[in-house]
């Protein structure tokens, strides 16, 4: 600000003269220092301004996290550096770091990684405990900041289809999309005409690289669908109900007419599991290595594929099961029943965790989105509903479809696909994992035959459709997560990498009994058994070691510490405590009475007034 005239070329000559008179020596670095002084002047306003320029979106959110380290880390360390001595800041070349301090991290991204629920109030704690809590909080902040910084590495961005003003994206045909996109993407759209072996079920491997499909009339094949390299193709000479990859693309589970079979990627039959008979639907839980099968006999069976044991066989008591899906968030299995209910199952519990009445007619299809927030159901009553799975299980959106959807699938980014006859509709919400709005379809596609199975391909903007006319791979821009975790599911991994990953995944296998509605329950203390143990300990010891010690008056000086006075003081405290207790219990009693009175009032209101009881009532038998 002050330096502005110095820097400017068109300074009035008078001033120049003045300067000449004073003969202020001009140094060779003067401009630089002037600039630096202007830039790094300790005055707070200018600093602030620059901050704002650097991160325009910050000031809005800063107040949320004002206390936390994130903002501190960004601003505080800069100041002392400036204050110390400006000389040290200058590098050998004389240039200055225009962005001193650590790079800014967007607060909302950091917030995403914070897991400690600070809304809960803690009871008062000792200083030692407080220290531990503080350490935990700082650790969380540090880790979330580093995680937020590493977001930078997720370079890919999701694509999306956007109609020109007023244009309906649903009217855009696949051919148009294929024409518009690059060759590599265009190659991802293909049709396999397989009319011979009836409607197909499809399944993508977890990496999204491989595709397996099984036709009703026994045709089973697996291929690397990107390169179109066929891995195996066999005919099992039996009806195929469902097909699913196990943890890797090397193993295939096929639900055949009678039993469940497991093939490897050469098409060699490895196992025939006769304990799972008449299986209609398969579902694989990748982190637990469990293959869940739903059978015609009404059993939901969990098979641990890592050890080959059946973990649990649960009787759903709802007749034939042919609608099943898994919640990828907590590995709970959702079953749809013919009485319009959807039940949620875990292998550790013999009864359904939750039962939701969704439709008047039977449930035809269920799908759960990748965050485990929404469940889409369609029923025989031609309704398509989206339920909230976060504790309330209430419908959020509903819509009647002219034909009703027979198959549903959510994509990684929350797009919902529904197969209705030979038409596929895809609905999209706004942004990732948001609720798809059912008003306008995002894309539609008509197939050559009725849909029999559909799944979104992970990490590729592709929807795989199995129908009576074969297989269709359809381009759905913006459906998949653009960035993959190379350590977790790498589409480009080699055989060696796959083997290593397999070992690692097996080491990190989650026990089946940990499947429950809230996957974070493991981070909680089992309060009931904690209380129980405490009680037992008290019984064992004969006293409560954590109980408050009774009041012991301190001895006083100058003869005031006579025994009588000590006793008096003790009594005083005891009486006070007693009084408090009595007061509390009285209040409780009053509340109870009030409640009872209210209830009575209600009852009285409900009942009509009766005639007064007569003395002769006692003789009434």
């Amino acid at each position: 600000m002050e330096t502005a005239p110095k820097l400017g070329r068109d300074v009035p000559p008078k001033k120049d003269k003045l300067q000449a008179k004073r003969k202020k020596p001009r140094r060779y670095w003067e401009e630089e220092t002037a600039q630096s002084a202007a830039g790094a002047s300790p005055g707070p306003p200018s600093n602030k301004k620059r901050n704002q320029e650097l991160r325009p979106q910050r000031p809005k959110n800063t107040h949320i996290l004002k206390k936390s380290r994130i903002s501190k880390k960004l601003q505080v360390p800069k100041k002392p550096r400036e204050r110390k001595n400006p000389e040290s800041q200058r590098s050998l070349s004389g240039a200055q770091d225009p962005f001193p301090g650590p790079a800014p991290v967007p607060v909302d991204v950091v917030q995403k990684f914070c897991r400690i629920d600070k809304s809960k109030k803690l009871p008062r704690c000792r200083s030692k405990t407080r220290n531990r809590l503080k350490v935990a909080e700082t650790e969380e902040e540090e880790t979330s900041v580093t995680a937020a910084r590493s977001e930078l590495l997720l370079a890919e961005e999701p694509g999306f289809l956007e109609g020109e003003d007023g244009e309906d994206t649903a009217k855009i045909l696949q051919a148009d999309i294929v024409e518009a996109v690059d060759i590599a993407s265009a190659a991802k759209h293909f049709d396999l005409n397989l009319r011979q072996f009836g409607p197909y079920r499809v399944n993508y491997s977890r990496t999204g690289r491989h595709l397996a499909f099984g036709g009703r009339r026994g045709h089973v094949a697996a291929l690397d669908w990107v390169t179109k390299k066929l891995m195996c193709e066999i005919n099992v000479m039996e009806a195929v109900r469902d097909i699913r990859f196990l943890h890797s693309e090397a193993l295939l589970a096929v639900a055949q007419n009678r039993w469940l079979y497991i093939y490897d990627n050469q098409g060699i039959e490895l196992h025939c599991i006769r304990r799972c008979d008449r299986v209609t639907r398969l579902e694989f839980l990748p982190f637990h290595f469990l293959l869940a099968t739903a059978s015609e006999t009404g059993f939901l069976t969990y098979l641990d594929v890592s050890v080959g044991k059946i973990v649990a066989a649960l009787n759903a008591r709802a007749g034939r099961l042919d609608v099943m899906t898994q919640n990828p968030y907590n590995a709970v299995i959702h079953l749809g029943h013919s009485n319009g209910t959807v039940s949620l199952w875990s292998p550790a519990v013999k009864e359904p965790l939750v039962k939701i009445l969704c439709h008047r007619g039977g449930v035809r299809a269920v799908a759960v989105d990748s965050t485990g927030t929404y469940m889409a159901t369609s029923g025989l009553d031609h309704q398509l509903k989206i339920f909230d799975l976060r504790g309330t299980y209430q419908p959020l959106r509903a819509r009647t479809l002219p034909q009703g959807a027979g198959h549903l699938a959510f994509s990684q980014r929350g797009l919902l696909a529904a197969g209705m006859g030979d038409v596929v509709n895809i609905w999209a919400g706004h942004g990732k994992a948001s609720l798809p709005s059912l008003e306008q379809p995002y894309l539609t596609h008509r197939l050559s035959g009725p849909v029999h199975g559909l799944q979104f391909c992970p990490f590729e903007d592709v929807l795989g459709l199995g129908h009576s006319g074969g297989i269709t791979s359809m381009l759905v821009p913006g459906s998949a997560e653009p960035n993959f975790d190379g350590l977790e599911s790498n589409p480009y991994r080699s055989r060696k990498q796959r083997q290593e990953w397999e070992v690692k995944a097996l080491l990190e296998k989650v026990p089946a009994e940990l499947i429950c509605l809230d996957p974070r329950a493991l981070a909680e203390v089992d309060v009931i058994s904690l209380e129980q143990k405490k009680k037992e300990r008290i019984e064992r010891l004969g006293y409560d070691p954590e109980a408050k010690t009774p009041f012991q008056p301190k001895p006083k000086q100058k003869g005031r510490s006579s025994t009588a006075s000590l006793v008096k003081r003790k009594r005083k405290v005891m009486d006070k405590e007693h009084r408090d207790k009595v007061r509390q219990s009285l209040e409780q009693q009053q509340q109870q009475q009030e409640q009872q009175q209210q209830q009575q009032h209600k009852q009285e209101k409900a009942k009509p007034m009766r005639a007064r009881p007569s003395a002769l009532d006692r003789f009434v038998r």
Binding site: P25, R27, R115, I116, L122, C125, R126, K128, T129, R132, L133, A136, E137, E142, T143, T146, S150, D168, A170, N339, T341, S346, A348, V349, E351, P352, L353, V354, K355, I356, L357, R360, L380, D381, G391, T392, Q394, P395, A398, R399, T400, P402, V423, L438, E439, Q440, P441, T444, R446, E488, E508, E513, L514, L522, V525, D526, I528, S529, L530, K533
Partner: protein
Amino acid sequence: MTASRVAESLLALSQQEELVDLPKNHPLSVSEDEEDSDRERKHQKLLEAISSLDGKNRRKVAERSEAGLKVSEFNVSSEGSGEKLVLADLLEPAKTSSSPSLATVKKQLNRVKSKKTVRLPLHKEEVERILRELAFNKTSQVLSKWDPIVLKNRQANQLVFPLEKEQSAFAPIEHVLSGWTARTLLEQKVFNLLHKNKQPVTDHFLTPMEKASLKAMSLEEAKMHQAELQRARALQSYYEARAQREKKIKSKKYHKIVKKEKAKKALKAFEQLGKVNPTVALEKLEKARIMERMSLKHQNSGKWAKSKVIMAKYDLEAHQAMQEQLSKNKELMQKLQIALESEEEERGPEEVEELLIPGVVNKVQMNADGPNPWMLSSCTQDSREAETHEDLEELPEPVAHEVSESEVDEGPVAEEEILLKEFEEWRSLRRRSELSQDAELVGSQETKESSSQEKLSELRAPSQRFKENHQSWKPKASPTGTVPQAHREEPSLEEEEPLLLQRPKRVQTLEELEELEKEECSQSQEFFRPGLEGQQLERNPNNLSNAPKEKKKKEQMLDLQNLLTTKSPSVRSLAVPTTLKEVDDEEERDQKQMIKEAFAGDDVIKDFLKEKRDTIEASKSKDMDLTLPGWGKWGGMGLKPSAKKRRHFLIKAPGPPRKDKNFPNVIINEKRNIHAAAHQVQVLPYPFTHHSQFERTVQTPIGSTWNTQRAFQKLTTPKVVTKPGHIIKPIKAEDVGYWSSSRSDLSVMQRYPKQLSMSHKKQLKKNSVD
């Protein structure tokens, strides 16, 4: 045994002798006969001793002797003489003789006199205890030095052993470079270049030239700066000295003069200010007034004033001073009004001028620069009122102003009409007002969202003029967001369009407009009727159509029936997928009917509710009934304990309410997952007292799946790191920065209790005295 005893006694005796003649260094003049008697006595003693050997009367107390067996250690027994021996008696001969040889003796005696007796030594146990205590104190004091280190180590995230670190020597770059010479051709070339241009080679920022220039300039500047500083300092000191001097002047007269001068100056300055900038001056006055009002400084409330009050009765001067104060107070308090008056007086001529100017003009001016708008507004009010009256007159009629929003909207329109066709349209205007009342009715209905179909149709039927109103109202209401969604879907654009077109053309007769709109309205009617009706038809059997929708929203959570039959908001989505064949509303309705018929048999809802009830019953823990029939009352066949008693002895089962209490379409299993619970933490670790505290510390995952590599490594650093192949020695004072005394302290502790230093001994003594 006995022989030895005797021997002992003999020995003691001989010792006694030595003790008795204490000053044995110098000869004492003892007469010979005394010596004889002594010998005799000794002899007798010996005899007695020998005789006592026979064992009969061994312990016979000696009669009297100076050096007997039973003589105490410290004092000479004076049994025989009957009077105490005093030192002076012994010295009698020495005094009398007063020989020079005895002078030394005297001196020695004096010394003996001056010396105090030695106290009794304490018991051994006591001494030991004191020593122990002392040692403990000392040791704990020494050890307490280590407390912070221990604490630090306990709280440290990581401990690295062995403790002593090798100081990584950071050699300054000059040292490194000094031994380095350019060898290769390129290096030599580069150095040549650098040397030629006098560029810094090793560590310097600046070239020598730059340095020189910097030095030169800085000296000059420094001198200038110094001079400036000097001047400032000198000025300050002068000023200070002067102030000091003036402060020391005690003359009252002088101070009075100074005060007066000051007051005069202030007054002058104020007057000047008043001339130059009256508003500021006014403000100052105002401020003074405020200060006065706040502090009440001149209302005889100060210390001085109070003292004067007491004096005032007797002292005229004090009285006067008081009066003066009060008057000053009054003056200060009144000042504003005076100022305002003066202001107004000043303004007077202006106002006169203003009077000449029309009121409308000066109104604005007054508002703009008047100091107090409250004071000045009164004069302008009249004109304003007049204006408003005029406005009112201009307005068409009070009826149009009644309440509804639609009319407010239409107000100006009506104005225009009147302005243009005053006579012709009078009748039509009347009609319109009636209609607008109708519209109001509709509006209220719609805001309530009863959306009763019949009324709508009724309203639609009689006159299409209504539609005009309706439309004009519609776009206004939609942003409020209260319009039901079915209505929102109406192509409001289509309806708005004619309205927009109308506005300028409003002058035309209404009949024309009606004609124009007939078609569109009929269209729109068709457009949204079926949708609404479909809804209505669907809901009517459920007895829901009458209830307002607001309530419905709440009920949605509760009414299962409703839940399952909720119509999607987008039943009639505008864009039906192109590939789908469009389904007409009638068809849809037919379908619904069919579905309903198909599912008429199995009552899914009823079954579900029953199931829910059953599960709730099954999971409920039973209440405890502790009533004893016959206790305190008659019991027997057919007699039951009274309800009051039963209630009193019924212990209700505790338990939180069910999670699915408010959700009729959900059954949530309340059973505990025991298998999962086995994996949960069941015992709280040490510093935590409540489970929520512990939970907070384990909420962040530490695995590499959830963290970046660096964060993962940081989170999983081992608590203790040891270097393989190194001996881990115990911690030393040097390791943690205690260089000096701590070691000696420790060594003292180790040496104890064999040797205690002098200071310790002193302390010990003090303790023993206490």
